[in-house]
Subunit: 692 residues, 2 copies
């Protein structure tokens, strides 16, 4: 019983630190399963499986592993033998079945039946399995694979952030639908207006008729205006009627003002309004989960002590520090957190911990660890000391930035000078020598800084890490170049030896030098703020990226099913565009051959001119989902974060130079959960009876 | 002295009701001038003068009064005789001189020297006058007219809302400049990357070279990426390199993610952040001005009473109601406000008013007047009464809406049926009869409603007013049609008689019927909310529209000066595009002939293909100012308004159905100015000594 309590406390504390729910089975066997399930290895296997099943789309027929997507130049698709991808998929599905069984067992039957996501998980798995079996029975000759459309679900159900974001989108759906209705009414009215206004009167000539092609009938007019709303065909729609009479411009101005400016921004306002509280609410939930977990750990630790020390007339009740230490020893926390907490506990000298003190120890962890750099090495010689001062000073960084800038300018100068010379005739002598010199300097800078700060001190700055890695890559490239092509000499023309030509080597070096220029980011104040905000948003951005992946996945699979093979490479008879006979703006003239749907890695960027009747609907849907909803969600996330960052109240912390994650930023305004709430939830725990 | 005080109180109360500053001269002569200056007539003259001087640009050389702007079809510009527009302009400048003198005199010398807008006004006037004189001396042959660029200033300086919005933009300029710097760095780095990545290697053929045209040299690459940021050439830039190797898409995806998604939205966040407090602050200032004005009126009314009733041992001090009534009598307020206040004062029975009571009476006015409809007429006969119930019921409105919808559908059906028939061969018999019947019903509906609600009751609903006017216009059109073309018969083909052909008459009728369909707006909940919000924003929207006019004006004048005559109509030798020899995407192929800068009513929509080296810079600047800054400002205004409207706290008032203006919405959260603040400002009034 004593060991069970310790184990329960360990699980509770791990739950608290990972912001997990504590409503799962708590007997010894289940806990072992639980800890195993949430161990790094298991979670990595699960994530890798999800990655695998999603990545399968690149390899499956139609396979995406060709260099170009252009139907004119593309080699034949490689066809994976039947059973290869299906085999991998079968393994993945097995893992998912294990996953759902474990999850279902751990939460218990009652909770399972109430959990919509888990139920949907089972349904999706069942459908996938049936579809998979059908696939195998038909020897992979089936036309439609439903399970490909269902795959993104596995990604969705595994991320609580993505589930929350989806919930937020679902809440705003009714209002978005209203605005959508407004947009449709707006479009319909303007379509009728447009068709009535821009029809050809009886006395008009043939020429004019051609120019009013965008408004010839209701369907054409609707299409034109719908695309105008996405601004993709602006100003092409307007020009023909505008050149007829300039007053007609008013029609398009009013349409754009109401549609793009007012209704679209209304959509932004709706999404932002729903999203405003969302981040805060999510952080509040996380805080509640942490407090609940620690409180639960306190309760299970407290109870047996009361029994064991029952005979003592102790005037304080609480948790024995040695129990706590034992729990911490067993719990899987990050080493820095563990050390910080253990030091705190040891400093208490064996006094019993009350619930408040217990919570406070964990609050310390949230404060954010201010990262300390290792001390600089101490040199004896005064010469070395002054050298250390010199090269450890931040003016030395500025000098390095200036040199990098000079290198960048030199590359640009040669790009401009040689722009008219064919690459094979370019004399790379001067640029080669310059790059050599600059790379030597970068190496010297690296060594001097490492000398001044000590090797570990040097590596403790992320910008130095970046700098050093790029410099090393540059050095390796330069040595390879010199080894293969010898030292630069006048007339060092590009030629081909070994894997890469001198020309490619030089380009790679130049690209790396430009890339190395990014080390200036921390030196520019605003850039640093922006970069730090992005880093602080990483957790949220992952959810957003995941949703984009899901949307893209579904649209790409739909695109393959709808439009595969629609775009046929021009044969010899249709090399028409060379003669200029393909009408301007058509698919052939624009040479959108690469923009097809023949494999998964498609680009649903602008399929409007694709010669298929459903392409426009597909295009507008993709625009609505990816551009309107997703971009607005992202804007809402940015607004929420930056507005708080710029709030004068948060300014003091901002200046203190601490690394602010989203949690820390909002910590001041989060509400601490109340004691009664916590105890109420603990008393209603479905699997453990915690009573005092 | 007694009369002077009454007059001063009148002016103060007028200032308070119009939210004007009270820091102006207060002697009897100045006050007469002041009231005259702010009288409706004078203000209308001033506004008309501003409109005139701005509208001059349409008439001046190059004159915009042609039907089409297309250089191929345009008739010769009409040249106004020298001295005509200059004469009108001279008159306008005279009015402005009078305006600035009066304003300067009224605020007094000390204030005048501190007022940047007034000083700038004088400078602009002086420059305009000099330029005008030069113009006359050179007999209108001068090339450059600086004064045309300065004209929007007259619009700016006359609107306090626009000045405030400008101030808000000025505050966010430093942060916008930082983001602009980030954008430039982003663009430059990606330009170098792109040029290095997408150059043609030694072994590439001629064909490939042509396809990499967007990244041939640094300047081309920079231009391509800059336009890509505005998304105007998406996906054309990407396709050539994407069809080379699909991995190159990553370059464009990263560029768009950082540039369009992150940095552009950062700009939105910055502008919204500055704007958030702006609306509130501006309303707070208005409230302060109102309270200050009424308090000043109280102070001047209070003082002489204390002197006159000095002998009385009165235990209350304050303002005599009869003085107050006298002031109200003289003040120019809206009649409903005046009546409401006077009734309040009369109900006080001659008791002296304290400062608080005095303020409270005016607060009543702010509450917003709930508009009452006149009572329905009472009919004696039970038949008439039940008819009144029937036609006054809102189901009758719904029936009307359904009939309108049916009419709309019938028009659409005929548009679809006749889409392949030339207009001169269309038989308008059925549609003509249907429209006749529908218009008869509309007339009947109008009469029945007027009967049920009474004529004034009918007109008191704005939707009925709209409905009635459109119905009358329809009736007139229909009668004219019938009079000219007779009753519809089989084979009622369009023919030309009188001013408009039957075809045009029918189109006009149809357009009016579609327009009449807008009466459904108040019946759709969301539409009504949106429409009401727009109406509530009118004050702010005027300022925003004004700023857009200013920006457009400056850009149009700049465009004329830079690009006038650059686009030359194609001669007979260059009817090239008919043969398809004009390259696709060029100005000639796109037939952007109407999109030129030969007169003021130009459209700086998409001048990228204009064959002039500065056109791209101009296009990007116009995009930045009009699309990025202005649209973001507008978005901020919308967000600010809708977010408060959707706030649950404001929900109760929302439901009460009152017409909520921006002031009323925010009234609850505005702070009442403090007594000491008001008295401090009054004591420091530059022209009146108010002492107690």
């Amino acid at each position: 019983s004593r060991d069970l309590c310790i184990d329960q406390a360990v699980v509770f504390i791990e739950d608290a630190m990972q912001y997990r729910s504590i409503s799962h089975r708590m007997d010894a066997g289940s806990m072992r399963l639980y800890r195993c399930y949430y161990s790094n290895a298991c979670q990595r296997i699960l994530n890798f499986t999800i990655f695998c099943i999603l990545a399968l789309a690149f390899i499956e027929t139609p396979c995406s592993l060709t260099k170009t997507a252009d139907v004119r130049y593309r080699s034949l698709h490689w066809e994976p033998p039947c059973g290869l991808t299906e085999g991998v998929e079968g393994l993945c599905l097995l893992v998912f079945m294990a996953d759902v069984s474990v999850k279902g067992f751990l939460v218990g039957r009652a909770q399972f039946q109430r959990n919509v996501w888990l139920l949907a998980y089972i349904v999706v798995l069942a459908v996938s399995l049936v579809d998979w079996t059908v696939s195998l029975c038909l020897l992979c000759q089936e036309r439609l694979r439903i399970r490909r459309l269902l795959r993104p679900f596995f990604l969705l159900q595994n991320s609580s952030m993505m589930k929350k974001t989806l919930k937020c989108i679902r809440w705003s759906l009714p209002e978005m639908a209203s605005v959508g209705l407004l947009l449709v009414v707006h479009l319909c009215l303007f379509t009728i207006f447009g068709t009535l206004l821009f029809t050809v009167g009886e006395e008009d000539e043939h020429e004019k008729k051609e120019r009013l092609t965008y408004f010839q009938n209701l369907l054409d007019a609707f299409t034109s205006l719908l695309v105008l709303l996405t601004t993709a065909n602006n100003p092409d729609v307007m020009i023909p009627v505008y050149s007829e009479n300039r007053a007609y411009a008013i029609f398009f101005i009013v349409f754009t003002l109401i549609g793009s400016l007012f209704l679209m921004n209304l959509l932004t306002a709706i999404i932002y309004n729903q999203f405003r509280g969302y981040l805060m609410k999510s952080l509040q939930t996380s805080l509640f989960r942490r407090r609940l977990g620690t409180r639960a750990a306190y309760e299970v630790l407290w109870l047996p002590r009361a029994v064991l020390t029952g005979g003592f007339p102790s005037h304080r009740v609480g948790v024995m520090p040695q129990d706590f230490l034992q729990v911490l020893e067993k719990a899987q926390l990050s080493s820095s957190q563990k050390q910080a907490i253990m030091e705190k506990v040891r400093s208490l000298d064996g006094v019993l911990l009350s619930a408040d003190e217990f919570q406070k120890i964990f609050s310390e962890v949230d404060r954010g660890v201010v990262r300390e750099h290792p001390p600089r090495p101490c040199y004896q010689s005064p010469l070395l000391q002054s050298a250390q001062f010199l090269f450890g000073h931040h003016y030395f960084d500025y000098l390095g930035n200036c040199i990098t800038l000079a290198n960048l300018v030199s590359i640009c100068v040669f790009l401009v000078l040689d722009e008219d010379v064919a690459p094979s005739d370019r004399d790379n002598f001067v640029l080669g020598v310059l790059n050599c010199v600059f790379i030597m300097y970068y190496l010297l800078e690296l060594l001097l800084k490492a000398f001044a700060l000590g090797p570990w001190g040097y590596l403790s700055y992320p910008e130095n890490l970046f700098d050093g890695l790029v410099t090393l890559a540059l050095l390796v490239l330069e040595i390879l170049t010199l080894a293969v092509y010898g030292f630069p000499y006048r007339g060092w023309y590009p030629e081909m030896r070994g894997l890469l030509s001198l020309w490619d080597m030089m380009r790679l070096v130049n690209i790396l030098i430009v890339f190395r220029f990014l080390r200036i980011i921390p030196n520019m104040k605003l850039m640093a703020v922006v970069a730090r905000t992005i880093l602080g948003l990483v957790q949220n951005l992952r959810a957003f990226g995941g949703i984009l992946v899901v949307v893209y996945y579904v649209f790409a699979i739909l695109g393959i099913n709808l439009f595969q093979g629609v775009i046929v490479a021009p044969g010899n008879d249709s090399l028409a565009h060379d003669n200029g006979s393909a009408p301007c703006g058509s698919f052939e003239q624009l040479e959108y051959w690469a923009n097809n749907f023949d494999d998964f890695a498609v680009s649903p960027v602008d399929v409007a001119p694709v010669p298929h009747r459903w392409s426009l609907v597909y295009f507008v849907l993709w625009w609505l989902v990816s551009s309107v909803i997703w971009v607005n969600l992202f804007l809402a996330l940015l607004l929420e974060n930056f507005l708080y960052r710029w709030d004068p109240r948060s300014h003091e912390r901002h200046l203190s130079g601490m690394q602010l994650t989203a949690e820390l930023i909002f910590r001041d305004i989060l509400e601490e959960p109340k004691e009664e709430e916590l105890m109420h939830r603990l008393r209603n725990h479905p699997h453990v009876r915690l009573c005092r």
